[in-house]
Protein backbone atom coordinates (compact mmCIF):
# COMPACT_ATOMS: atom_id res chain seq x y z
CA UNK A 1 0.00 0.00 0.00
CA UNK A 2 2.69 2.41 1.07
CA UNK A 3 4.71 1.94 -2.13
CA UNK A 4 1.61 2.16 -4.34
CA UNK A 5 0.74 5.43 -2.65
CA UNK A 6 4.17 6.93 -3.22
CA UNK A 7 4.23 5.88 -6.87
CA UNK A 8 0.98 7.77 -7.43
CA UNK A 9 2.44 10.78 -5.72
CA UNK A 10 5.47 10.67 -7.96
CA UNK A 11 3.38 10.35 -11.10
CA UNK A 12 1.24 13.28 -9.99
CA UNK A 13 4.29 15.36 -9.24
CA UNK A 14 5.77 14.56 -12.65
CA UNK A 15 2.56 15.49 -14.44
CA UNK A 16 2.30 18.72 -12.48
CA UNK A 17 5.95 19.72 -12.97
CA UNK A 18 5.87 18.99 -16.69
CA UNK A 19 2.63 20.95 -17.09
CA UNK A 20 4.40 23.95 -15.57
CA UNK A 21 7.44 23.44 -17.81
CA UNK A 22 5.29 23.17 -20.94
CA UNK A 23 3.29 26.27 -20.00
CA UNK A 24 6.54 28.21 -19.64
CA UNK A 25 7.79 27.04 -23.01
CA UNK A 26 4.43 27.40 -24.77
CA UNK A 27 5.40 30.71 -26.45
CA UNK A 28 8.41 29.00 -28.02
CA UNK A 29 6.28 26.10 -29.22
CA UNK A 30 3.72 28.55 -30.58
CA UNK A 31 6.45 30.40 -32.45
CA UNK A 32 7.55 27.19 -34.20
CA UNK A 33 3.98 26.05 -34.96
CA UNK A 34 2.97 29.44 -36.39
CA UNK A 35 6.03 29.52 -38.64
CA UNK A 36 4.93 26.24 -40.23
CA UNK A 37 1.28 27.15 -40.86
CA UNK A 38 -0.04 28.49 -44.15
CA UNK A 39 -0.81 32.20 -43.82
CA UNK A 40 -4.56 31.65 -44.30
CA UNK A 41 -4.67 29.29 -41.34
CA UNK A 42 -3.63 32.04 -38.91
CA UNK A 43 -6.95 33.81 -39.25
CA UNK A 44 -9.18 30.86 -38.45
CA UNK A 45 -11.52 31.24 -35.49
CA UNK A 46 -11.02 29.26 -33.33
CA UNK A 47 -7.29 28.90 -34.11
CA UNK A 48 -5.84 25.50 -34.88
CA UNK A 49 -3.15 24.20 -32.55
CA UNK A 50 -1.28 21.98 -34.99
CA UNK A 51 -0.86 23.11 -38.59
CA UNK A 52 -3.32 21.40 -40.94
CA UNK A 53 -0.49 21.19 -43.43
CA UNK A 54 3.15 21.90 -42.74
CA UNK A 55 4.66 24.48 -45.03
CA UNK A 56 8.16 25.95 -45.32
CA UNK A 57 7.06 28.73 -47.66
CA UNK A 58 7.65 31.40 -45.01
CA UNK A 59 11.24 30.33 -44.54
CA UNK A 60 11.74 30.33 -48.27
CA UNK A 61 10.18 33.79 -48.65
CA UNK A 62 12.22 35.08 -45.72
CA UNK A 63 15.46 34.07 -47.42
CA UNK A 64 14.53 35.20 -50.93
CA UNK A 65 12.17 38.17 -50.61
CA UNK A 66 13.44 40.00 -47.51
CA UNK A 67 16.90 41.34 -46.57
CA UNK A 68 17.07 38.62 -43.91
CA UNK A 69 20.34 37.17 -45.23
CA UNK A 70 21.98 40.60 -45.14
CA UNK A 71 20.86 41.04 -41.51
CA UNK A 72 22.14 37.55 -40.74
CA UNK A 73 25.54 38.30 -42.27
CA UNK A 74 25.78 41.55 -40.27
CA UNK A 75 24.83 39.81 -37.04
CA UNK A 76 27.44 37.12 -37.61
CA UNK A 77 30.12 39.74 -38.25
CA UNK A 78 29.09 41.66 -35.17
CA UNK A 79 29.09 38.63 -32.92
CA UNK A 80 32.44 37.42 -34.28
CA UNK A 81 34.06 40.87 -34.29
CA UNK A 82 32.92 41.82 -30.80
CA UNK A 83 33.91 38.46 -29.38
CA UNK A 84 37.35 38.47 -31.00
CA UNK A 85 38.24 41.94 -29.73
CA UNK A 86 36.80 41.40 -26.30
CA UNK A 87 38.26 37.95 -25.65
CA UNK A 88 41.83 38.93 -26.48
CA UNK A 89 41.72 42.09 -24.38
CA UNK A 90 39.84 40.44 -21.52
CA UNK A 91 42.09 37.35 -21.39
CA UNK A 92 45.16 39.54 -20.93
CA UNK A 93 43.33 41.77 -18.47
CA UNK A 94 41.96 38.89 -16.43
CA UNK A 95 45.40 37.29 -16.24
CA UNK A 96 46.77 40.57 -14.96
CA UNK A 97 44.02 40.92 -12.34
CA UNK A 98 44.42 37.35 -11.10
CA UNK A 99 48.20 36.78 -11.13
CA UNK A 100 49.93 40.09 -10.75
CA UNK A 101 50.01 42.51 -7.92
CA UNK A 102 50.28 46.24 -8.36
CA UNK A 103 48.77 49.25 -6.65
CA UNK A 104 45.10 49.85 -7.45
CA UNK A 105 44.44 46.34 -8.73
CA UNK A 106 41.44 45.62 -6.51
CA UNK A 107 39.92 49.04 -7.11
CA UNK A 108 40.23 48.46 -10.85
CA UNK A 109 38.45 45.12 -10.56
CA UNK A 110 35.54 46.74 -8.70
CA UNK A 111 35.40 49.49 -11.29
CA UNK A 112 35.02 46.90 -14.03
CA UNK A 113 32.09 45.34 -12.19
CA UNK A 114 30.62 48.80 -11.80
CA UNK A 115 30.85 49.50 -15.54
CA UNK A 116 29.13 46.18 -16.20
CA UNK A 117 26.06 47.47 -14.34
CA UNK A 118 25.86 50.82 -16.12
CA UNK A 119 22.75 51.45 -18.23
CA UNK A 120 23.34 51.75 -21.97
CA UNK A 121 20.97 54.72 -22.27
CA UNK A 122 23.39 56.84 -20.24
CA UNK A 123 26.29 56.11 -22.57
CA UNK A 124 24.40 56.11 -25.82
CA UNK A 125 24.02 59.86 -26.39
CA UNK A 126 27.74 60.69 -26.07
CA UNK A 127 28.62 57.56 -28.06
CA UNK A 128 26.20 58.58 -30.81
CA UNK A 129 27.66 62.11 -30.98
CA UNK A 130 31.15 60.61 -30.93
CA UNK A 131 30.38 58.25 -33.83
CA UNK A 132 29.03 61.17 -35.87
CA UNK A 133 32.15 63.19 -35.17
CA UNK A 134 34.57 60.45 -36.21
CA UNK A 135 32.36 59.48 -39.17
CA UNK A 136 31.66 55.94 -38.04
CA UNK A 137 27.90 56.27 -37.78
CA UNK A 138 26.05 53.63 -39.80
CA UNK A 139 28.96 51.16 -39.87
CA UNK A 140 29.42 47.77 -38.25
CA UNK A 141 32.59 49.12 -36.63
CA UNK A 142 30.56 51.65 -34.64
CA UNK A 143 28.47 48.79 -33.24
CA UNK A 144 31.50 46.68 -32.35
CA UNK A 145 32.96 49.65 -30.47
CA UNK A 146 29.63 50.27 -28.71
CA UNK A 147 29.24 46.58 -27.84
CA UNK A 148 32.54 46.55 -25.97
CA UNK A 149 30.85 48.80 -23.38
CA UNK A 150 28.97 45.81 -21.99
CA UNK A 151 30.86 42.86 -23.52
CA UNK A 152 34.32 43.75 -22.19
CA UNK A 153 33.39 44.18 -18.51
CA UNK A 154 31.27 41.03 -18.77
CA UNK A 155 34.00 38.90 -20.37
CA UNK A 156 36.67 40.26 -18.06
CA UNK A 157 34.65 39.50 -14.96
CA UNK A 158 33.76 36.01 -16.17
CA UNK A 159 37.31 35.14 -17.26
CA UNK A 160 38.64 36.44 -13.98
CA UNK A 161 36.59 33.88 -12.08
CA UNK A 162 37.62 31.08 -14.45
CA UNK A 163 41.30 31.99 -14.24
CA UNK A 164 41.26 32.34 -10.48
CA UNK A 165 40.34 28.64 -10.35
CA UNK A 166 43.57 27.56 -12.08
CA UNK A 167 46.10 26.28 -9.51
CA UNK A 168 49.05 28.62 -8.94
CA UNK A 169 51.53 25.74 -8.68
CA UNK A 170 51.50 25.04 -12.40
CA UNK A 171 52.63 28.51 -13.31
CA UNK A 172 55.10 28.59 -10.45
CA UNK A 173 56.67 25.36 -11.71
CA UNK A 174 57.10 26.83 -15.17
CA UNK A 175 58.67 29.94 -13.67
CA UNK A 176 61.13 27.88 -11.66
CA UNK A 177 62.07 26.17 -14.89
CA UNK A 178 63.11 29.57 -16.13
CA UNK A 179 60.10 30.51 -18.27
CA UNK A 180 59.23 34.18 -18.48
CA UNK A 181 55.85 35.37 -17.22
CA UNK A 182 54.54 35.69 -20.78
CA UNK A 183 55.86 32.25 -21.78
CA UNK A 184 54.18 30.77 -18.69
CA UNK A 185 50.96 32.54 -19.63
CA UNK A 186 50.96 31.12 -23.16
CA UNK A 187 52.21 27.62 -22.33
CA UNK A 188 50.56 26.99 -18.97
CA UNK A 189 47.67 29.34 -18.26
CA UNK A 190 46.04 29.54 -21.69
CA UNK A 191 45.60 25.78 -22.21
CA UNK A 192 44.21 25.47 -18.69
CA UNK A 193 41.85 28.38 -19.19
CA UNK A 194 40.67 27.21 -22.61
CA UNK A 195 37.25 25.82 -21.55
CA UNK A 196 36.60 29.04 -19.65
CA UNK A 197 37.74 31.14 -22.59
CA UNK A 198 35.54 29.23 -25.03
CA UNK A 199 32.45 29.52 -22.86
CA UNK A 200 33.12 33.20 -22.21
CA UNK A 201 33.45 33.70 -25.97
CA UNK A 202 30.12 31.97 -26.55
CA UNK A 203 28.35 33.99 -23.86
CA UNK A 204 29.81 37.19 -25.28
CA UNK A 205 28.67 36.34 -28.78
CA UNK A 206 25.13 35.77 -27.47
CA UNK A 207 25.15 39.25 -25.91
CA UNK A 208 26.25 40.75 -29.22
CA UNK A 209 23.75 38.65 -31.19
CA UNK A 210 20.82 39.84 -29.04
CA UNK A 211 21.75 43.52 -28.67
CA UNK A 212 19.06 45.97 -29.77
CA UNK A 213 19.41 49.54 -28.45
CA UNK A 214 22.82 50.47 -29.92
CA UNK A 215 21.83 48.91 -33.23
CA UNK A 216 18.64 50.99 -33.19
CA UNK A 217 20.50 54.27 -32.63
CA UNK A 218 23.81 53.86 -34.44
CA UNK A 219 22.70 52.15 -37.64
CA UNK A 220 19.84 53.08 -39.96
CA UNK A 221 20.23 51.35 -43.31
CA UNK A 222 19.43 47.77 -44.29
CA UNK A 223 22.99 47.23 -45.48
CA UNK A 224 24.39 47.34 -41.93
CA UNK A 225 21.39 46.38 -39.81
CA UNK A 226 21.78 43.29 -37.64
CA UNK A 227 18.96 40.78 -37.15
CA UNK A 228 17.43 42.42 -34.06
CA UNK A 229 16.61 45.78 -35.62
CA UNK A 230 16.32 44.23 -39.08
CA UNK A 231 13.53 41.83 -38.17
CA UNK A 232 11.73 44.62 -36.30
CA UNK A 233 11.94 46.76 -39.43
CA UNK A 234 10.25 43.95 -41.38
CA UNK A 235 7.42 44.23 -38.84
CA UNK A 236 7.23 48.02 -38.97
CA UNK A 237 7.47 48.46 -42.73
CA UNK A 238 5.09 45.67 -43.73
CA UNK A 239 1.69 46.80 -44.93
CA UNK A 240 -0.23 44.07 -43.17
CA UNK A 241 1.72 42.16 -40.58
CA UNK A 242 2.62 38.65 -41.69
CA UNK A 243 3.00 36.84 -38.43
CA UNK A 244 4.05 33.52 -39.90
CA UNK A 245 6.92 35.23 -41.70
CA UNK A 246 7.98 36.98 -38.49
CA UNK A 247 7.75 33.71 -36.55
CA UNK A 248 9.94 32.03 -39.17
CA UNK A 249 12.45 34.86 -38.70
CA UNK A 250 12.25 34.39 -34.92
CA UNK A 251 12.93 30.68 -35.23
CA UNK A 252 15.92 31.31 -37.49
CA UNK A 253 17.28 33.92 -35.07
CA UNK A 254 16.99 31.45 -32.20
CA UNK A 255 18.61 28.41 -33.82
CA UNK A 256 22.22 29.55 -33.18
CA UNK A 257 21.24 30.31 -29.58
CA UNK A 258 19.83 26.81 -29.11
CA UNK A 259 23.04 25.26 -30.44
CA UNK A 260 25.21 27.37 -28.13
CA UNK A 261 22.83 26.80 -25.23
CA UNK A 262 23.10 23.01 -25.50
CA UNK A 263 26.86 23.35 -25.64
CA UNK A 264 27.01 25.64 -22.60
CA UNK A 265 24.81 23.64 -20.19
CA UNK A 266 27.71 23.06 -17.80
CA UNK A 267 28.66 26.70 -17.55
CA UNK A 268 25.22 28.22 -17.09
CA UNK A 269 25.60 29.12 -13.44
CA UNK A 270 28.93 30.84 -13.78
CA UNK A 271 28.03 32.49 -17.08
CA UNK A 272 24.86 34.22 -16.07
CA UNK A 273 25.99 35.62 -12.78
CA UNK A 274 29.23 36.60 -14.50
CA UNK A 275 30.78 35.32 -11.29
CA UNK A 276 28.63 37.80 -9.45
CA UNK A 277 26.09 35.43 -7.95
CA UNK A 278 28.29 33.28 -5.84
CA UNK A 279 25.76 32.82 -3.02
Amino acid sequence: MQTGHSIWRRILFNVFAWTVVLLISFPLLWMILTSLKPQSELFLIPPTILPSEITFEHYQRLLTETPFLTYLRNSLWLAAGTTAVVIVVAALGAHSLVRFSYPGRERLARLVLFTYLLPSVVLIIPLYLFMIRVGLVNTLASLIIAYTTFALPYALWLLRSFMAAIPVDLEAAALVDGASRMRAFIDVILPQALPGIISTALFTSILAWNEYLYALVLVNSDEVRPLTTGVMSILITSFNIEWSLLMAASVMMSVPLIVIFVFLQRFLTSGFGAGAVKG
Binding site: P47, V112, V121, L123, L127, K278
Partner: protein
Protein backbone atom coordinates in the same frame (compact mmCIF):
# COMPACT_ATOMS: atom_id res chain seq x y z
CA UNK B 1 51.76 33.86 -4.51
CA UNK B 2 53.89 33.62 -7.61
CA UNK B 3 57.13 34.72 -6.11
CA UNK B 4 58.61 31.23 -6.47
CA UNK B 5 60.72 32.37 -9.40
CA UNK B 6 62.23 35.16 -7.39
CA UNK B 7 65.00 33.13 -5.83
CA UNK B 8 66.63 32.13 -9.07
CA UNK B 9 65.94 35.29 -10.99
CA UNK B 10 68.90 37.37 -11.93
CA UNK B 11 68.46 40.78 -10.42
CA UNK B 12 68.86 43.54 -12.91
CA UNK B 13 68.30 47.20 -12.28
CA UNK B 14 64.73 46.62 -11.06
CA UNK B 15 63.58 44.09 -8.52
CA UNK B 16 61.56 41.17 -9.87
CA UNK B 17 58.45 42.38 -8.02
CA UNK B 18 58.65 45.76 -9.68
CA UNK B 19 59.20 44.22 -13.10
CA UNK B 20 56.24 41.88 -12.59
CA UNK B 21 54.10 44.85 -11.57
CA UNK B 22 55.04 46.54 -14.84
CA UNK B 23 54.12 43.43 -16.87
CA UNK B 24 50.81 43.28 -15.00
CA UNK B 25 50.11 46.90 -15.78
CA UNK B 26 50.93 46.39 -19.46
CA UNK B 27 48.52 43.44 -19.64
CA UNK B 28 45.64 45.43 -18.16
CA UNK B 29 46.45 48.56 -20.19
CA UNK B 30 44.30 47.69 -23.26
CA UNK B 31 41.29 47.11 -20.99
CA UNK B 32 41.80 50.41 -19.20
CA UNK B 33 42.28 52.23 -22.49
CA UNK B 34 39.12 50.81 -24.08
CA UNK B 35 36.95 51.29 -21.00
CA UNK B 36 38.17 54.88 -20.65
CA UNK B 37 37.18 55.60 -24.24
CA UNK B 38 33.82 53.87 -24.40
CA UNK B 39 32.63 54.26 -20.80
CA UNK B 40 34.46 56.87 -18.72
CA UNK B 41 34.55 59.48 -21.48
CA UNK B 42 30.85 59.05 -22.43
CA UNK B 43 29.88 59.07 -18.76
CA UNK B 44 31.66 62.36 -18.12
CA UNK B 45 30.35 63.87 -21.31
CA UNK B 46 26.77 62.84 -20.46
CA UNK B 47 27.06 64.95 -17.33
CA UNK B 48 28.64 67.77 -19.36
CA UNK B 49 25.91 67.59 -22.04
CA UNK B 50 23.20 67.76 -19.41
CA UNK B 51 23.98 71.41 -18.68
CA UNK B 52 23.65 72.39 -22.34
CA UNK B 53 20.71 72.87 -24.62
CA UNK B 54 21.56 70.96 -27.78
CA UNK B 55 19.23 70.53 -30.71
CA UNK B 56 20.41 67.43 -32.56
CA UNK B 57 20.14 68.27 -36.27
CA UNK B 58 22.19 71.43 -35.88
CA UNK B 59 24.39 70.16 -33.04
CA UNK B 60 24.56 73.69 -31.72
CA UNK B 61 24.76 73.93 -27.99
CA UNK B 62 24.21 76.67 -25.55
CA UNK B 63 25.18 76.55 -21.89
CA UNK B 64 22.03 76.59 -19.80
CA UNK B 65 23.30 75.62 -16.37
CA UNK B 66 20.85 73.57 -14.39
CA UNK B 67 17.88 74.64 -16.53
CA UNK B 68 17.44 71.14 -17.96
CA UNK B 69 17.23 69.73 -14.44
CA UNK B 70 14.83 72.31 -13.08
CA UNK B 71 12.60 71.89 -16.15
CA UNK B 72 12.58 68.11 -15.63
CA UNK B 73 11.92 68.19 -11.93
CA UNK B 74 9.04 70.59 -12.55
CA UNK B 75 7.50 68.47 -15.31
CA UNK B 76 4.87 65.83 -14.70
CA UNK B 77 6.37 63.57 -17.36
CA UNK B 78 9.59 62.93 -15.47
CA UNK B 79 7.79 61.99 -12.27
CA UNK B 80 5.29 59.87 -14.16
CA UNK B 81 8.13 57.99 -15.88
CA UNK B 82 9.91 57.50 -12.58
CA UNK B 83 6.71 56.16 -11.02
CA UNK B 84 6.17 53.83 -13.99
CA UNK B 85 9.76 52.70 -13.68
CA UNK B 86 9.25 51.82 -10.02
CA UNK B 87 5.93 50.03 -10.65
CA UNK B 88 7.48 48.00 -13.49
CA UNK B 89 10.60 47.13 -11.51
CA UNK B 90 8.80 46.18 -8.30
CA UNK B 91 6.09 44.25 -10.15
CA UNK B 92 8.24 42.23 -12.49
CA UNK B 93 10.96 41.66 -9.89
CA UNK B 94 8.59 40.21 -7.30
CA UNK B 95 7.05 37.88 -9.89
CA UNK B 96 10.51 36.80 -11.01
CA UNK B 97 11.53 35.99 -7.47
CA UNK B 98 8.34 34.06 -6.60
CA UNK B 99 8.21 32.11 -9.90
CA UNK B 100 11.95 31.61 -9.81
CA UNK B 101 11.99 30.04 -6.34
CA UNK B 102 8.92 27.86 -7.02
CA UNK B 103 10.24 26.55 -10.33
CA UNK B 104 13.70 26.00 -8.88
CA UNK B 105 12.17 23.88 -6.09
CA UNK B 106 10.25 21.93 -8.74
CA UNK B 107 13.33 21.31 -10.87
CA UNK B 108 15.43 20.41 -7.86
CA UNK B 109 13.33 17.32 -7.20
CA UNK B 110 13.50 14.03 -9.10
CA UNK B 111 11.71 14.41 -12.39
CA UNK B 112 11.74 12.42 -15.61
CA UNK B 113 13.80 14.12 -18.34
CA UNK B 114 14.93 16.67 -15.77
CA UNK B 115 17.78 17.98 -17.93
CA UNK B 116 15.35 18.69 -20.77
CA UNK B 117 12.88 20.34 -18.39
CA UNK B 118 15.64 22.60 -17.07
CA UNK B 119 16.74 23.59 -20.56
CA UNK B 120 13.17 24.42 -21.60
CA UNK B 121 12.66 26.58 -18.52
CA UNK B 122 15.98 28.42 -18.85
CA UNK B 123 15.72 29.14 -22.54
CA UNK B 124 13.57 32.31 -22.45
CA UNK B 125 16.47 34.03 -20.69
CA UNK B 126 18.75 33.28 -23.64
CA UNK B 127 16.25 34.37 -26.21
CA UNK B 128 16.68 37.67 -28.00
CA UNK B 129 14.27 40.24 -26.57
CA UNK B 130 13.17 40.98 -30.13
CA UNK B 131 12.07 37.37 -30.57
CA UNK B 132 10.33 37.27 -27.20
CA UNK B 133 8.46 40.47 -28.06
CA UNK B 134 7.39 39.23 -31.49
CA UNK B 135 6.03 35.97 -30.10
CA UNK B 136 4.15 37.71 -27.29
CA UNK B 137 2.75 40.41 -29.54
CA UNK B 138 1.44 37.66 -31.80
CA UNK B 139 -0.04 35.71 -28.89
CA UNK B 140 -1.60 38.89 -27.44
CA UNK B 141 -2.98 40.05 -30.79
CA UNK B 142 -6.52 41.24 -30.08
CA UNK B 143 -8.16 39.65 -33.12
CA UNK B 144 -6.23 36.46 -33.84
CA UNK B 145 -4.11 36.03 -30.72
CA UNK B 146 -4.18 32.64 -29.05
CA UNK B 147 -4.47 34.07 -25.55
CA UNK B 148 -7.80 35.81 -26.13
CA UNK B 149 -9.16 32.65 -27.76
CA UNK B 150 -8.11 30.43 -24.90
CA UNK B 151 -9.56 32.80 -22.32
CA UNK B 152 -12.82 33.11 -24.25
CA UNK B 153 -12.98 29.35 -24.72
CA UNK B 154 -12.55 28.94 -20.97
CA UNK B 155 -15.26 31.61 -20.51
CA UNK B 156 -12.95 33.78 -18.39
CA UNK B 157 -13.60 36.71 -20.73
CA UNK B 158 -16.39 37.11 -23.26
CA UNK B 159 -14.86 39.83 -25.44
CA UNK B 160 -11.32 39.99 -26.88
CA UNK B 161 -9.12 42.08 -24.59
CA UNK B 162 -6.70 44.77 -25.79
CA UNK B 163 -3.64 43.65 -23.85
CA UNK B 164 -1.07 46.23 -24.89
CA UNK B 165 -3.03 49.29 -25.96
CA UNK B 166 -5.01 50.16 -22.87
CA UNK B 167 -4.34 50.67 -19.18
CA UNK B 168 -3.87 48.98 -16.78
CA UNK B 169 -3.59 45.98 -19.17
CA UNK B 170 -0.44 47.31 -20.84
CA UNK B 171 1.49 47.60 -17.57
CA UNK B 172 0.26 44.20 -16.36
CA UNK B 173 1.23 42.54 -19.64
CA UNK B 174 4.68 44.16 -19.48
CA UNK B 175 5.22 42.97 -15.93
CA UNK B 176 4.19 39.39 -16.79
CA UNK B 177 6.21 39.16 -19.98
CA UNK B 178 9.22 40.64 -18.18
CA UNK B 179 8.80 38.00 -15.49
CA UNK B 180 8.59 35.25 -18.12
CA UNK B 181 11.75 36.47 -19.83
CA UNK B 182 13.90 37.02 -16.74
CA UNK B 183 12.77 34.58 -14.04
CA UNK B 184 15.15 31.85 -15.36
CA UNK B 185 18.00 33.93 -13.95
CA UNK B 186 16.53 33.41 -10.48
CA UNK B 187 16.02 29.71 -11.23
CA UNK B 188 19.67 29.22 -12.22
CA UNK B 189 21.02 30.99 -9.15
CA UNK B 190 18.61 29.36 -6.70
CA UNK B 191 19.10 25.86 -8.18
CA UNK B 192 22.86 26.19 -7.79
CA UNK B 193 22.40 27.18 -4.16
CA UNK B 194 19.83 24.45 -3.43
CA UNK B 195 22.29 21.82 -4.58
CA UNK B 196 24.75 22.91 -1.93
CA UNK B 197 22.38 22.73 1.05
CA UNK B 198 23.45 19.69 3.08
CA UNK B 199 20.81 16.91 3.33
CA UNK B 200 21.48 16.57 7.07
CA UNK B 201 19.70 19.87 7.68
CA UNK B 202 16.51 18.46 6.15
CA UNK B 203 16.91 15.15 7.96
CA UNK B 204 17.32 16.93 11.27
CA UNK B 205 14.25 19.09 10.57
CA UNK B 206 12.20 16.01 9.64
CA UNK B 207 13.20 14.26 12.85
CA UNK B 208 12.10 17.37 14.72
CA UNK B 209 8.69 16.87 13.13
CA UNK B 210 8.82 19.60 10.46
CA UNK B 211 6.42 19.15 7.52
CA UNK B 212 7.30 20.10 3.93
CA UNK B 213 6.23 23.72 4.42
CA UNK B 214 8.08 24.11 7.72
CA UNK B 215 11.18 22.56 6.13
CA UNK B 216 10.96 25.22 3.42
CA UNK B 217 10.59 28.16 5.79
CA UNK B 218 13.00 26.89 8.45
CA UNK B 219 15.73 25.30 6.34
CA UNK B 220 15.54 26.31 2.68
CA UNK B 221 14.69 30.00 2.95
CA UNK B 222 17.37 30.90 5.53
CA UNK B 223 19.93 29.04 3.41
CA UNK B 224 18.81 30.94 0.31
CA UNK B 225 18.84 34.32 2.04
CA UNK B 226 22.29 35.48 0.95
CA UNK B 227 21.94 34.45 -2.66
CA UNK B 228 18.46 36.03 -2.80
CA UNK B 229 19.79 39.38 -1.59
CA UNK B 230 22.37 39.38 -4.37
CA UNK B 231 19.76 38.32 -6.96
CA UNK B 232 17.33 41.02 -5.86
CA UNK B 233 19.97 43.76 -6.09
CA UNK B 234 21.25 42.59 -9.45
CA UNK B 235 17.78 42.18 -10.95
CA UNK B 236 16.65 45.54 -9.53
CA UNK B 237 19.51 47.18 -11.42
CA UNK B 238 18.80 45.28 -14.63
CA UNK B 239 15.01 45.66 -14.55
CA UNK B 240 15.27 49.35 -13.69
CA UNK B 241 17.35 50.04 -16.81
CA UNK B 242 15.35 47.74 -19.11
CA UNK B 243 14.77 49.36 -22.48
CA UNK B 244 14.28 46.78 -25.25
CA UNK B 245 11.34 44.88 -23.83
CA UNK B 246 9.24 47.93 -22.93
CA UNK B 247 10.13 49.92 -26.02
CA UNK B 248 9.25 47.03 -28.31
CA UNK B 249 6.09 45.90 -26.53
CA UNK B 250 4.30 49.17 -25.83
CA UNK B 251 6.72 51.92 -26.87
CA UNK B 252 5.82 53.55 -23.55
CA UNK B 253 2.18 53.82 -24.54
CA UNK B 254 -0.72 54.24 -24.39
CA UNK B 255 0.54 57.86 -24.50
CA UNK B 256 3.11 57.72 -21.66
CA UNK B 257 1.33 55.26 -19.38
CA UNK B 258 4.15 52.67 -19.53
CA UNK B 259 7.02 55.05 -20.27
CA UNK B 260 9.98 54.41 -17.98
CA UNK B 261 13.10 56.59 -17.60
CA UNK B 262 15.22 54.74 -20.21
CA UNK B 263 12.40 55.24 -22.74
CA UNK B 264 12.17 58.91 -21.80
CA UNK B 265 15.90 59.32 -22.44
CA UNK B 266 15.51 57.73 -25.86
CA UNK B 267 12.46 59.82 -26.74
CA UNK B 268 14.04 63.14 -25.66
CA UNK B 269 17.26 62.36 -27.51
CA UNK B 270 16.17 60.71 -30.73
CA UNK B 271 12.53 61.69 -31.25
CA UNK B 272 12.53 65.22 -29.82
CA UNK B 273 16.21 65.87 -30.63
CA UNK B 274 16.89 67.37 -27.21
CA UNK B 275 20.30 65.89 -26.34
CA UNK B 276 20.82 68.11 -23.30
CA UNK B 277 17.46 67.33 -21.77
CA UNK B 278 17.89 63.63 -22.53
CA UNK B 279 21.29 63.62 -20.84
CA UNK B 280 19.78 65.23 -17.77
CA UNK B 281 17.19 62.42 -17.55
CA UNK B 282 19.98 59.88 -17.98
CA UNK B 283 22.08 61.47 -15.24
CA UNK B 284 19.14 61.57 -12.82
CA UNK B 285 18.41 57.94 -13.61
CA UNK B 286 22.05 57.08 -12.93
CA UNK B 287 21.88 58.79 -9.54
CA UNK B 288 18.88 56.67 -8.55
CA UNK B 289 20.55 53.48 -9.76
CA UNK B 290 23.76 54.37 -7.96
CA UNK B 291 22.08 53.47 -4.67
CA UNK B 292 21.46 49.89 -5.79
CA UNK B 293 24.80 49.62 -7.56
CA UNK B 294 26.68 50.68 -4.43
CA UNK B 295 24.69 48.22 -2.32
CA UNK B 296 25.43 45.44 -4.79
CA UNK B 297 29.14 46.22 -5.03
CA UNK B 298 29.38 46.26 -1.26
CA UNK B 299 27.43 43.02 -0.97
CA UNK B 300 29.47 41.15 -3.58
CA UNK B 301 32.67 42.41 -2.01
CA UNK B 302 32.26 40.48 1.23
Amino acid sequence: MTKTGQGIAVRKSLSLDARYAIVGAILIAPTVLILSTVIVYPLVSAIYLSVFSIYTPTMEGEFVGLANYTRLLGSGEFWRSLLNNMIWTAGTLSLQIVFGILVALLLHRKLIFRALARSLVLFPYFLSTVVAVLVWRWMLNDLYGVLNHMLMWARIIDMPVDWLGSMPNAMISLIFIGAWKYFPFVVIAVLARLQSIPDELYEAATIDGAGPFARFTDVTLPQLKDVLIVIVLLRTIWDFKEFDLIYLLTGGGPIIATQTLPLMVYKEAFALNQMGGASAVAVLMMLIMLVFMTLYLRKSGD
